[in-house]
Amino acid sequence: MSIVLRPNGLSVLRLSLVLIAAAAPGSAQVTNSAQRASNGTITIFRPLSVTATANMSFGRLQPQGNGQPGSVILTSAPPTQRIATGVSTLPGGTETPAIRTLSGEPGKIYRITVPASAVSTQGGHLVNAFTLWTQNGGNVTSTRIGQLNASGTDVLRVGATINFPKGTKQNTYTVSVPISILYE
């Protein structure tokens, strides 16, 4: 543009000198540069939140008076059932499996760990044969693996069998079961 505006030889020569000066090193200036981006990866899961919705209770039980040992199976799958052998099941005991509500990363698989056995809070009777049921997967007793749904939730129910020796008295029997749930 300058050349067009000032089309005389002297001016053009001056412009040339300016261009040469601009090309030569002067004060600090960037003469060339390059850049590159790097893409890294990380996988982040939502923390697994476990809420105890209910603790295990076999409800009110009356071992029969014939002096024989008995047992009660508390089912994990809904609806809650008590299957008794040598024991009378009484109403009003709010029987329930242990219920845990899980929340975490959608679709994530988790592993459930329960002990081989425990004892009842009342009388210290043997509790074993734990069964596991999840809302998303149904009966998972054999695999002990569950999976959070697309919303990142699931409900775990843990049932068991309580065993009574002969001469056990009527009571409401509850059990504190340590349940461990970890992402697979």
Binding site: S16, N32, S33, A34, R36, I42, L48, Y183
Partner: protein
């Protein structure tokens, strides 16, 4: 006549400038490792981790998120300057490492550098930690290509909200040659 000579001089100058520009793209971050940080289970509080620049090991410095399979990552960056070739004057490259945008719950909060290797010789000055991380490499005059390699560490943060799952993140390395 004078006008023609002046025009020729002008054209020559223009071509000279154009030629210099064409040779400018000669600094290349030739190697950038890809950080693979592993799998983390987010916490209920904001958690902070560092990736050691030398060893690549990942250490938690705050919060309660925990790694499920912590990978670790040694990130090596090499910058080669072929236009630093010359026998007159020093050759300086300004380096800048800048974090990209946060990716879900992940964000880079700081960079560190270490293990600088300069070929054939030179000095490094400026910050060894920061975000962005800015420092300079000065090569003495001399013939031949100049190279600097360094290891890049970082600090990152896992927030309690935002996207989860497999995330990608990025940072950018800019190398700019400056004339004194």
């Amino acid at each position: 006549m004078i006008r023609r000579i002046a025009s020729l001089l002008s054209l020559t100058a223009f071509l000279a400038v154009s030629s210099a520009s064409a040779q400018n793209v000669t600094i290349t971050p030739s190697t950038i490792s890809v950080p693979v940080l592993g799998v983390f289970v987010g916490g209920t509080t904001i958690s902070s981790y560092t990736v050691d620049s030398t060893s690549g090991s990942i250490t938690r410095v705050g919060g309660n998120a925990f790694p499920s399979s912590k990978a670790g990552s040694i990130n090596t960056i090499t910058v080669t300057c072929t236009s630093c070739n010359g026998t007159v004057g020093r050759r300086t490259i300004n380096m800048s490492v800048t974090a990209g945008a946060a990716s879900g719950r992940f964000s880079i909060t700081n960079f560190t550098r270490s293990n600088e290797t300069i070929s054939p010789s030179g000095t490094v000055s400026g910050a060894s930690s920061g975000s962005p991380l800015n420092f300079a490499v000065e090569f003495p005059s001399g013939a031949g290509t100049k190279t600097i390699s360094f290891r890049l560490g970082m600090s990152f943060q896992l927030s309690t909200t935002g996207g989860t799952g497999a995330r990608t993140f990025n940072y950018t390395v800019v190398a700019a040659r400056v004339t004194p």
